[in-house]
């Protein structure tokens, strides 16, 4: 399953959900039309699920989708317990598991790659629903029941990865200034879209 194809499918089903994305799923969503209710957790590896938890608690009338990565989930694995403890009934955690860090750049194995059972961990932490999906057809078939089923809900998506682009011929990549202002800008965009008080001055 390609990350972009999975993101297209999830985007089609999001309705008025708020989306918090990070890592490879963020890059894929950047290729789709802009969603004013989406924000990127960047550069803050590991933080997407907890930001999504805060949004889910603040806005119980809407679904919140978190598009996480496998290595970023592992960075704050205890967050699964925090989420299950808070019991947000509108929280849907999609983890794009390619078992690779810096996918498409350097392709380093994630600790626990292809061994750690993330769906089982979410279940053990107390998520109301947890499953692992390995292909797009299965995701398409199961997505309606996932979104209408119990939550907090965890879905591990097994996805492919691109070949590494960094090397002798392409030795470095510079982070843009936008990379560091983006998260705050998108938080403020969500607040505007939700009609929150404009507390942050430009």
């Amino acid at each position: 399953m390609k990350t972009l194809d999975a993101c297209k499918l999830l985007d089609m089903h999001r309705g008025d959900a708020i989306v918090v994305c990070t890592m490879g799923a963020m890059n894929a969503l950047d290729k789709l039309p802009v969603n004013p209710l989406a924000m990127a957790c960047v550069p803050l590896m590991g933080g997407a699920a907890s930001i999504g938890l805060g949004l889910a608690l603040a806005r119980p009338e809407r679904k919140v989708f978190v598009f996480d990565g496998d290595a970023s989930l592992l960075m704050e694995l205890g967050g699964l317990v925090s989420i299950a403890h808070a019991k947000p009934k509108n929280f849907f955690h999609f983890v794009f598991n390619n078992s690779i860090q810096f996918a498409g750049l350097g392709n380093l194995d994630t600790p626990g790659a292809r061994r750690a059972d993330m769906a089982a961990m979410a279940s053990a932490c107390g998520f109301d629903s947890s499953q692992r999906i390995t292909n797009l057809e299965d995701l398409e078939a199961r997505l309606p029941s996932v979104l209408n089923g119990p939550a907090p809900s965890f879905v591990e998506l097994v996805v492919e990865y691109d070949n590494p682009s960094l090397g002798i011929e392409n030795p470095a990549v510079e982070m843009t200034d936008e990379r560091f202002s983006r998260m705050g800008d998108e938080i403020r965009r969500i607040r505007r879209h939700l009609g929150c008080d404009a507390e942050i001055r430009s």
Partner: protein
């Protein structure tokens, strides 16, 4: 006849304590609706009231301080007013999330940080003169990060709660209230 109960020698330090209910009343005057936290030992009295569920504030318990900061960021994105209650060690553990959400993203995070480990001989003195690194590093570190802080060293400092809160709104960034001694029961 039973022997009279001996008074705890710890009571002599109570003048440095701010009652938990007074802190909650100040939080409410600020409009705070949520607390995200990894509990702090010197603020146990405050945590007990918050966990009792009658304060009117909703508590989100997190397993690490970076999560507490991130959940606060999400709550803010959703329009809520939040206090992040941690201890000094927790602030040290959560610096990258503070950097990303508070500083780079300009989210007005309000931290309430307990001075875990402060020796009682330092009470009434400058916490920067504490012999303990976990204590004396806190204020200089916050300064390095560009996070303004206010001390809560006793009941006279209660107005600092609202001052620190308001500053986080005014500067669109993080501020810290530093709780110097055990919160009062």
């Amino acid at each position: 006849m039973s022997a009279p109960e001996k008074e705890s020698p710890m009571k002599q330090f109570s003048k440095y304590s701010v009652p938990a209910q007074a802190m909650i009343d100040a939080f409410k005057r600020c409009g705070i609706e949520y607390v995200t936290t990894v509990p702090d030992m010197v603020q146990i009295a405050l945590h007990q009231i918050l966990d009792g569920g009658e304060s009117g504030l909703r508590v989100v318990h997190c397993t690490t301080e970076d999560q507490a900061i991130e959940v606060a960021g999400g709550l803010y994105a959703g329009g809520k007013k939040v206090a992040v209650i941690v201890q000094n060690q927790g602030l040290y553990a959560g610096i990258n999330s503070l950097r990303a959400l508070g500083l780079d993203s300009k989210v007005p995070l309000f931290f309430v940080i307990g001075q875990f480990g402060r020796e009682f001989s330092n009470l009434g003195s400058d916490p920067r003169d504490s012999k303990r690194r976990v204590v004396f590093l806190l204020e200089p570190l916050l300064e390095t990060l560009g996070v303004p802080s206010w001390r809560l060293e006793g009941p006279d400092d209660l107005p600092n709660i609202e001052a620190a809160w308001q500053a986080s709104r005014d500067r669109s960034g993080p501020t810290a209230l530093i709780v110097g001694h055990f919160v009062g029961w």
